[in-house]
């Protein structure tokens, strides 16, 4: 279980998050809903370690990970703009995180995992494609597959459906919902749309500005 306890984040002298607490039971999907500027993204960045917390603590399964370096937290993240590696193909983007797993995975295991994830996101034939050649929806799918690849304890999704047209958005919401429940991944989704939260999450947490619950 993820336990975020009374965290505060101050950036540039401005408090962005104040005394925010949250618990996410293992295997569930929680949605964090709030208006723009309420600090949702900062909370995700604080949980995975990109942004340091000023006070408070983050622990996973009872282990305090507040000061654990980002790469040792085993928390996957899907960024708002996907932020795929532009110099790598789809296949290498997904395989990226598998290179850092200990004990080291063999080439065959890596291939199997990448193929499994490509199939999971419905992009079996896209392995050799360059990132530039993908549509917005395809990029989101690859970003999801990339984040899921190294079997993270927790998956954070930051506005995964923003800037997509409504038809694609609805299809992707359904697909991601299916993928999360099929992989039984513990997930925290940030969105400003309560309808998205209702479809995807087992629990919804609302925040105001600056973020407190």
């Amino acid at each position: 279980m993820l336990d975020v306890h009374n965290i505060c984040v101050v950036l540039g002298g401005t408090p962005i998050v104040q005394d925010f607490s949250l618990q996410i039971p293992t295997g569930t999907t929680t949605a964090l809903v709030g208006p723009s500027g309420s600090g949702k993204t900062t909370i995700l960045h604080a949980i995975c370690g990109i942004t340091p917390v000023t006070s408070g603590s983050v622990s996973y399964d009872g282990r305090d990970i507040t000061n654990t370096p980002i790469h040792r937290r085993k928390i996957g993240m899907v960024f708002q703009d996907s932020d795929l590696f532009p110099h790598l193909t789809v296949w290498h983007n997904i395989a990226f995180g598998l290179a850092f797993i200990t004990p080291r995975l063999g080439a065959r295991a890596v291939t199997e995992r990448v193929q499994e994830l490509l199939a999971l996101v419905g992009m079996e034939t896209f392995g050799d494609r360059r990132i530039d050649d993908l549509s917005g929806g395809e990029q989101r799918r690859v970003a999801l597959a990339r984040a899921l690849a190294p079997w993270p304890h927790l998956l954070l999704l930051d506005e995964p459906f923003s800037a997509l047209d409504s038809a694609l958005r609805l299809r992707l919401i359904a697909d991601i919902g299916d993928i999360l429940s099929a992989t039984r991944t513990t997930a925290l989704i940030v969105t400003h749309d309560p309808a998205e939260a209702e479809i995807l999450a087992t629990r919804t947490v609302s925040i105001s500005s600056p973020s407190t619950t």
Binding site: G12, I50, P52, I70, D83, F85, H87, P150
Partner: protein, 527 residues
């Protein structure tokens, strides 16, 4: 409505025609003062045996070998020294950032002679001429190239891609190597190519710090042409140097693989990231010390005479003491200011004509052509240009060889590419709708240009003028070739002072160099 459309299209067409007509003047200038001299060098080098002879001369082979390895080592050291501050300035926001970037960039706008003088004042006497000083000066001078070029690209790399790599389990080092490096590699290689070019064609630094032992191709060209009168060997060396530079710049030209998707990203303030703060602070302090210390030493050295504090070195600059060694500082200063004024008066209008031709052209290939044609002098060593001018303009009816005007022509030719870069970008960025609005309000094409374009680029014009003045004031390579008795400029005077033995002369050299730094800072800050 159609009438309006036609009028607006006509505005741009009129401006385009006027710009193309006016660009004939700068084109003619470059043909006369760049293409002819360079062409003359090529025709001589291709028609003589000196080109094959130089490779058989063991002395010149030694010079070639030294030029190559010192340039490679200087480039490698510049990249290493520049890396921490480039990272800090690209990735983080911190108090004093503009000052640090300004300080790191300042030596680049100073003449190489001044940088060399500062390094010489810093190093202990036994190291004041030799490879340590040469490398030190090259690194200080070229730091700006790496910081500017690489940080411009690094700032465009989305920070979240690096964060994504970290969340996928990559350590900070692996993240840099696998994610950041591929995005900045092309900029680093491009910057390395430019640094190599500057170090390979180093002249002022070697003249001051090389002593009798060290000589680069550039210095050898000067020595052969001016001291030995061996123009054939000098010309062959120029050609050889141009070939090496062309190959290196061709191999290291930046490629924009991910350019189209990239934009400048907001940096995080370092005070929010305690772990990285120490590294950023260390990079900042190290850079400030590395770049600033030599100039402080130079200033302090100007007040040291016979191991005592004294203001005599400054007094001797203007009291006639230095006349006995043929140095007239007041004359050199007035010459420098006169040449700089003329350079500004000629170069700014020429650059404006070219910038308009480039900005109003609808064809990207015309823009590229202008950039390549006008940019060529940047990739040509100043000494080569000086030599080309000497051998071209030495016969009646254009025997300007000993005329000061040739010196101004060289300064203008060297400043023109830089001036064009300053003016072209702001002109290109003016939205066409502004001109359209002016036209709908009744302005003629000429009034539109004056009230919109000229008004908007007023500040870039000032910067351009400042830059041209700085180039002229600091030019040393071509000036060394073209200067004659009575035409000395400040940089050639500093070189003469530092090239002579004696405490008074040396300290006066440092005093004049310090005065010159203040002058350049004054000119640039006004712009």
């Amino acid at each position: 409505m159609d009438k309006h459309h036609a009028a607006m299209k006509q505005t741009l067409a009129t401006l385009r025609r006027a710009a193309l007509v006016s660009s004939v003047l700068p084109a003619a200038w470059l043909i006369v003062f760049y293409v002819f001299p360079l062409g003359n060098i090529f025709s001589r080098a291709l028609s003589i045996d000196a080109f094959t002879d130089i490779l058989g001369n063991s002395g010149i082979r030694h010079v070639l070998w030294f030029t190559m390895w010192q340039a490679l080592l200087s480039t490698a050291l510049t990249l290493i020294v520049a890396f921490p501050i480039t990272w800090a300035c690209s990735r983080w926001q911190f108090t004093g950032q503009r000052f640090v970037i300004g300080l790191a960039t300042a030596p680049f706008v100073l003449p190489t002679v001044i940088v060399a003088a500062a390094v010489r004042a810093t190093l202990p006497q036994q190291m004041s001429s030799g490879i340590t000083g040469i490398l030190f000066a090259h690194v200080i001078f070229n730091l700006a190239v790496v910081v500017r070029i690489v940080s411009a690209r690094w700032q465009q790399a989305p920070p979240n891609t690096a964060a994504a790599a970290r969340t996928l389990g990559a350590s900070a080092w692996k993240t840099f190597w696998l994610v950041t490096w591929p995005m900045i590699r092309s900029a680093v290689v491009g910057a390395a190519g430019i640094v190599f070019m500057f170090c390979f064609t180093s002249f002022g630094v070697i003249k001051i710090l090389g002593g009798p032992r060290y000589s680069t191709i550039e210095v050898e060209i000067f020595t052969r042409a001016v001291q030995f009168g061996d123009i054939n060997t000098a010309v062959a060396l120029v050609l050889l140097q141009l070939i090496v530079i062309a190959i290196v710049l061709g191999l290291t030209a930046p490629r924009d693989e991910f350019g189209k998707k990239i934009r400048v990203h907001r940096q995080s303030h370092i005070r929010d990231y305690p772990r990285q703060r120490r590294l950023v602070l260390a990079s900042v302090y190290a850079t400030v010390l590395f770049v600033g210390t030599p100039f402080v030493f130079m200033f302090v050295s100007s007040f040291r005479l016979h191991h005592r504090w004294s203001i005599n070195a400054w007094r001797h600059l203007f009291d006639g003491t230095l006349d006995s060694i043929g140095v007239d500082v007041a004359r050199a200063m007035s010459n420098s200011l006169f040449f700089a004024t003329l350079t500004v008066a000629i170069t700014v209008p020429l650059a404006l004509c070219l910038a308009c031709a480039s900005a109003y052209s609808s064809s990207p290939s015309v823009r590229r052509l202008i950039a390549i044609f006008v940019g060529a002098p940047l990739a040509t060593s100043a000494v080569a240009l000086g030599l080309g001018m000497i051998i071209t303009f030495d016969q009646s009816p254009i025997n300007w060889r000993s005329h000061w005007f040739l010196l101004v022509c060289a300064h203008c030719t060297i400043a023109l590419p830089l001036a064009l870069r300053v003016l072209a970008a702001p002109l290109q960025s003016i939205p066409a709708t502004l001109r359209d609005s002016a036209r709908t309000l009744g302005a003629s094409p000429l009034q539109t240009w004056r009230k919109i374009d000229l008004a908007i680029i007023k500040r870039p014009l000032l910067i351009c003028a400042g830059l041209c003045a700085a180039v002229s004031l600091g030019e040393f390579g071509a000036t060394s070739f073209l200067t004659r008795s009575g035409n000395d400029t400040i940089p050639t005077t500093i070189a003469r002072l530092l090239g002579r033995p004696g405490d008074i002369v040396q300290s006066s050299g440092y005093a004049l160099a310090s005065l010159f730094v203040l002058l350049i800072v004054g000119v640039m800050s006004r712009a």
